[in-house]
């Protein structure tokens, strides 16, 4: 313990004496964090969708006062995806070659079916089988596009129905569903019937006047019911409304996912490289052979390098979090959990880096090995849950570290059990990689 503390102090002193390294250690993670955050919060790439239009009739369907055709639908679709117009064979080939994510086929007679109101027209989608995740996302986008078109059509139809209701109630001249006419309307009908009643009563024909009573009641009842039809039709058109209000003007907040990713890449790289460099420097300076002669055990030496990395990760991580808390609208908080998470992640990154550092004779080689190991594993750690990649990311420190970062940044409430499991996972990986590193150091020191 005392020997480890002495080496720890030496490492801090050497770090402080290397201003370039110190600068890189602080500036590099910040730059990486900014780049990753910008990359992850930017617009997602729009998928390419091949459209095969078999409805070449050029027909349009009247929706309210507008007429909609296939081109209008495709224009709306292009708001969500990049439309590539192809014939059926070219579209199938493009899907097979992975050049488009899906093929959307507009069948022959699509608009005619829509116009008829008898047959329900259907669009056909064939999504790529290569990536189930992307295929699922594409289908959801197309579903959303069809939903919006349906909603637009429903709005047009409902408006027409409401105008028809007004026509029935108020009468007048109107053109609807392709027909025009002049109607009396319930309101004027009631006036005419009640006027007739009055005149019959005045003429002494009370019996006839009374016989008109049910007709007046029917007209009145119908008018009232049709008045109720308006809010009901509006409710059918949009049962649930989504009201979007703009946030307070100010800085653009970083997405929590983007920041979690940035934190993982910056701390992961900085931690692994620092630990690898610190360990391999002991070998390159030939000090390891002297230390291994009973001055410090390989276990204590590895633990010291892990602790050194953990402290560096803690300082850099807290600085990044503090910067984000001050400069953006992203809620950080949960500082106690952050402290534990950054320390455990730093220990695990340190163990991984020390193992890489122990494998190389020189610092430059160690850094190269560490970089070559860390980069792909970091990328896998950032991927969403998906089979083998997810499994690999969970047996190295990057997966659980990313889970912990996301949980602390995103989850509205923290489940004590879940976060304990994630932190325990990190601690376990720190122990496993630390043990492997200690064995490697022991072998290299006493070759």
């Amino acid at each position: 313990m005392r020997a480890a503390a002495l080496i720890f102090r030496k490492d801090l002193l050497l770090l402080a004496r290397a201003p370039a390294l110190l600068l890189v250690l602080v500036v590099y993670p910040v730059l990486v964090a900014l780049l990753i955050a910008l990359a992850l919060q930017g617009d997602e790439r729009r998928p390419d969708v091949a459209v095969v239009n078999l409805d070449t009739s050029g027909r349009t369907v009247a929706v309210g006062e507008r007429r909609l055709g296939v081109e209008d639908y495709l224009e709306r679709l292009s708001e969500d995806v990049d439309v590539r117009r192809l014939d059926a064979d070219a579209a199938a080939a493009a899907l097979d070659q992975g050049r488009v994510s899906a093929v959307l086929t507009i069948p022959e007679g699509f608009i005619a079916d829509l116009q008829s109101g008898v047959r329900r027209p259907a669009l056909m989608v064939a999504a790529s089988r290569r990536s189930p995740i992307e295929a699922d996302a594409i289908v959801r986008r197309l579903e959303a596009a069809v939903y919006r078109l349906n909603q637009s059509l429903a709005t047009g139809y409902v408006n027409q129905v409401l105008r028809l209701v007004d026509f029935v109630v108020d009468g007048g001249r109107i053109g609807i569903f392709g027909r025009t006419g002049d109607a009396l309307g319930l309101r004027r009908s009631r006036v005419l019937v009640t006027d007739l009643q009055k005149r019959l009563r005045a003429a002494g024909d009370l019996r006839s006047a009374a016989e008109l009573g049910p007709l007046v009641n029917f007209i009145e009842e119908t008018r009232r019911n049709l008045d109720l039809a308006k809010p009901a039709a509006n409710a059918i058109r949009a049962p649930i409304a989504l009201e979007v209000t703009e946030g307070a003007p100010g800085r653009e907040p970083l997405s929590a996912f983007g920041f979690a990713g940035a934190l993982l890449v910056s701390l992961g790289l900085a931690g692994v490289l620092l630990a690898a460099a610190a360990m391999s420097a002991e070998r390159e300076d030939h000090a390891l052979a002297r230390l291994a002669r009973g001055l410090i055990s390989s276990w204590a030496l590895v633990a010291e390098k892990m602790a050194f990395t953990a402290v560096a990760c803690l300082v850099v991580g807290l600085a990044l979090l503090g910067g984000v808390a001050v400069a953006t609208d992203l809620a950080v908080g949960r500082w106690g959990l952050w402290l534990a998470t950054l320390l455990l992640a730093g220990l695990a990154f340190g163990a991984f880096g020390v193992l890489a550092g122990a494998l190389a004779r020189e610092t430059r080689s160690a850094l190269l090995i560490a970089l070559m190991l860390a980069l792909p594993l970091l990328a896998i750690g950032l991927l969403p849950d998906s089979g083998a990649a997810s499994a690999i990311s969970q047996i190295v420190p990057f997966g659980p570290a990313f889970d912990a970062f996301q949980t602390l940044l995103v989850e509205p409430t923290i489940d004590a059990g879940d976060i304990s499991v994630t932190l325990g996972h990190l601690a376990l990986l720190a122990v496993v990689f630390g043990a492997a590193a200690a064995l490697a150091v022991s072998r290299k020191a006493r070759a």
Binding site: L6, L14, H286, A287, A447
Partner: protein, 252 residues
């Protein structure tokens, strides 16, 4: 065959040491002894196994076979001076000494560091980083660090290989003082002259085997051509020994 002249009062007895690296035998049944206050020179060409033997004795490398016994059954404090200085180049001479003195659990690491700086004539370079010291000064710091554990045995791997003649003299003056104070020294060298001058006994190694153990006079007598104890005769005897030419004994 090798003439064995065991040390009178050995602090170290190594027998049948063997070590191979990927099938290549670096040491093949080596026997060596070392007594208190004695200086033993390990003499041999490149690849003879000198460094391997010293690193095994120093506890830096492991042995495949053989026994290693220390006086009174307990390992004495062994100081290790590798050929390439084992220290931190970006720490100053003083900081290196303080660190290793503390790691060696010295009662007062600061005082010991100052004492060693003085004994190694490093006081004027005390605050200079090791990376900025000359080769000779760096080797003195390397030796001073080895002394931070207050050893009774000092193992040195070609300590003067990279030094100029004046630096060599300066270093040997200090090593002679240590030996006179009772410290046992074992050093490797490729210089027959240095081995003759500084070693009480010579251990000649070649291809991982001990070819001769004894004084330089004994080596000349056994393997020289014409006797005598001068450097030239010893050089010739050494050459005949390592090239396998028959000497006085062999010529019979």
């Amino acid at each position: 065959m090798a003439a064995m002249s065991p040390a009178a009062d050995p602090v170290l007895v190594a027998r049948a040491l063997r070590r191979a690296f990927r099938g290549v035998r670096a040491l093949d049944g080596v026997d060596v002894d070392l007594a208190a206050g004695e200086a033993v020179a390990l003499l041999g060409p490149n690849g003879a196994g000198k460094t391997t033997l010293l690193t095994i004795l120093a506890g830096v490398a492991r042995r495949d076979e053989g026994s290693l016994e220390w006086a009174a059954g307990a390992a004495p404090r062994v100081g290790w001076v590798p050929q390439r200085p084992a220290l931190y180049p970006r720490l100053s001479a003083r900081e290196n000494l303080r660190l290793f003195a503390a790691l060696e659990r010295a009662g007062d690491p600061d005082a010991l560091a100052e004492e060693l700086l003085g004994r190694a004539d490093l006081t004027e370079f005390a605050d200079r980083t090791a990376a900025n010291l000359s080769t000779g000064t760096l080797q003195r710091l390397n030796l001073a660090i080895a002394l931070a554990g207050r050893p009774s045995v000092l193992l040195l791997d070609e300590p003067t290989a990279t030094l100029s003649p004046d630096q060599r003299l300066r270093l040997w003056k200090w090593l002679d003082e240590l030996r006179d104070a009772g410290m046992a020294l074992m050093f490797s060298t490729q210089s027959v002259d240095e081995a003759m001058r500084r070693g009480d006994r010579l251990v000649v190694l070649a291809a991982g085997r001990v070819l001769f153990t004894g004084t330089s006079q004994e080596m000349v007598a056994a393997h020289g051509v014409g006797g005598g104890g001068d450097a030239e005769a010893a050089e010739l005897a050494f050459m005949r020994l390592v090239t396998g030419l028959p000497g006085t004994d062999g010529a019979g």
